[in-house]
């Protein structure tokens, strides 16, 4: 007897569902997720530290007021619960260095999520975002680069695993990241007290003694306590959040949105207690890098000491694998961008630094200068 298997019914190529499937399944580089994985491990440790400190002093969540989400939610014996927290520490370290990456990442996600959902008192916005990021890392193959797993395969002579994968975890995480800013900005926009500046002004009034005792100069304190300042500042804050939420999606505005987001999170970290939110949110900005690697060429003079140093800097700091370095004798530093445009000399150095995660914030504004744009030319153009 023979049987034929009907092929899965495919959506017509032009249908929205087919386009949706193509988007979700399109292989893209997971390099940004790998970098995020490396950065989020320490964030998890930071998140766990106060919980472990309390556990070392014999206190766990249920020794004081807590409120389970559901009566059926399982609670572990004390010793096993504390051991589980330490397993999360080990797994977070393994996640960062990329050792048994998938197992480590799933373990961290499961334990952090289980722990947060033990009580309504545990759930803060920063922890919700942390769970979301960990969920995305748990489902994405983010251990094939920047990991001991990848190094181990190389050492054993095994072929590397593909570093591209269907993009849907990345797209979902981008949606969630943008939602954090959009939801926050929208809630303020819709609240008349927030929009008018009443909330921020009143907050300053309530902590005026602390503001007076801070390192701020007296004129800055006076400005902060001035209600009319908050009338403008509140709208600026709301506009900033909404700009970040929308600006991250377009390549034209993405660099500006990332730059503003970093300023925004640094300001929040300096002015409020937000647990791990600032570190997590800044780390998560990595996901907005275009998910392709080595698609820019950095051409350097093999005989020039300064250019060799630049090459070393790029090799060490190009965590998102933006550049392929080529050596030639003579000539200025040259960058050939992914669209074929060529930049040379000091502007090329700026372009390079603006694409490295550690230096991007400092170099990006230089790229906005009119002269920087003038120096960009089609491939083959003269300097």
């Amino acid at each position: 007897m023979s049987a034929t298997v009907a092929p899965p019914r495919a959506e017509p190529a032009s249908s929205p569902i087919a386009a949706f499937d193509v988007l979700l399944g399109r292989p893209v580089s997971m390099r940004a997720m790998a970098l995020l994985r490396v950065l989020v491990g320490p964030v998890v440790l930071l998140h766990l530290r106060p919980i472990l400190d309390a556990a070392r002093h014999g206190r766990i969540y249920r020794d004081a007021f807590y409120e389970p989400y559901a009566a059926w939610y399982p609670e572990l014996p004390r010793g096993i619960y504390v051991a589980m927290l330490w397993i999360a520490v080990v797994a977070a370290l393994a996640m960062t260095i990329g050792l048994l990456t998938r197992v480590a990442t799933v373990t961290v996600f499961v334990i952090v999520t289980y722990n947060v959902f033990l009580s309504t008192t545990n759930l803060h916005n920063n922890r919700a975002y942390l769970m979301i990021v960990l969920a995305a890392l748990a489902v994405a193959p983010c251990g094939r680069e920047l990991s001991i797993d990848a190094w181990s395969r190389r050492v054993r002579g095994r072929p590397p695993l593909p570093t591209s994968s269907p993009g849907w975890p990345l797209w979902l995480l981008r949606f969630e990241a943008a939602t954090v800013y959009a939801a926050s900005g929208l809630s303020k926009l819709l609240d008349p007290d927030w929009f008018s500046g009443t909330v921020t002004w009143h907050r300053v009034v309530l902590v005026r003694d602390r503001v007076d005792a801070s390192l701020l100069p007296s004129w800055a304190v006076d400005v902060l306590a001035d209600r009319s300042f908050h009338t403008v500042a509140a709208k600026l804050i709301i506009a900033t959040e909404l700009f970040i939420a929308a600006g991250l999606w377009s390549r034209r505005t993405r660099f500006a949105a990332v730059w503003v987001a970093i300023c925004f999170h640094v300001a929040i970290e300096l002015s409020a207690e937000v647990q791990v939110f600032s570190f997590l949110a800044i780390a998560a900005l990595a996901i907005w890098a275009v998910p392709s690697t080595r698609d820019r060429v950095l051409v350097l003079d093999v005989d020039a000491v300064a250019q060799r140093r630049l090459g070393a800097v790029v090799r060490n700091l190009d965590w998102l694998a933006r550049f392929r370095i080529e050596w030639r004798p003579g000539g200025p530093v040259t960058v050939v961008d992914r669209d074929g445009t060529v930049v040379e000399g000091g502007w090329a150095v700026c372009r390079v630094l603006s694409r490295l995660p550690l230096t991007a914030w400092f170099a990006l504004p230089v790229g906005l200068l009119p002269r920087a744009r003038d120096r960009v030319m089609p491939v083959g153009g003269a300097a």
Partner: protein, 142 residues
Amino acid sequence: MWARRVVVVVVVVAQVAFVVRAYHAPHKEFGFQMFPESSTWQAEIVRVTYDGRRIPISDPWDGYQWSQMVRSRGLARASVRHHADAGLDNQLAFLDAALDYVADHTPRDTETRYLEAVVTTWHNTDEPETVVFRSHDRDVAG
């Protein structure tokens, strides 16, 4: 392919639902409403005994201390005016739940019928309002 579609759609729909829900739910899980209010609150919490006495919980009783039993979410020193950092609704929901928690976790106490909190709230710069929360009645006879 179907599984991928379903996961993505479910996550997106759920996230949008959480954001909408946060506008009316006291606990705004995944609603991402940051620094929502400058509101403050302060509560006088007492134990009301079966014989009608009203004893402040600032006095330890039967080996229990409120500040040791309720440490999180700014509830340890309820008599001091505090910022409701996740909004008044959220803060009051935690206080209400904390009253029930203490009522349920003080087995050596055989005189308290219920706990009561008289809460003064200041929603942003609005005039103060007073609300009263009570724990459920304790069944000390078992």
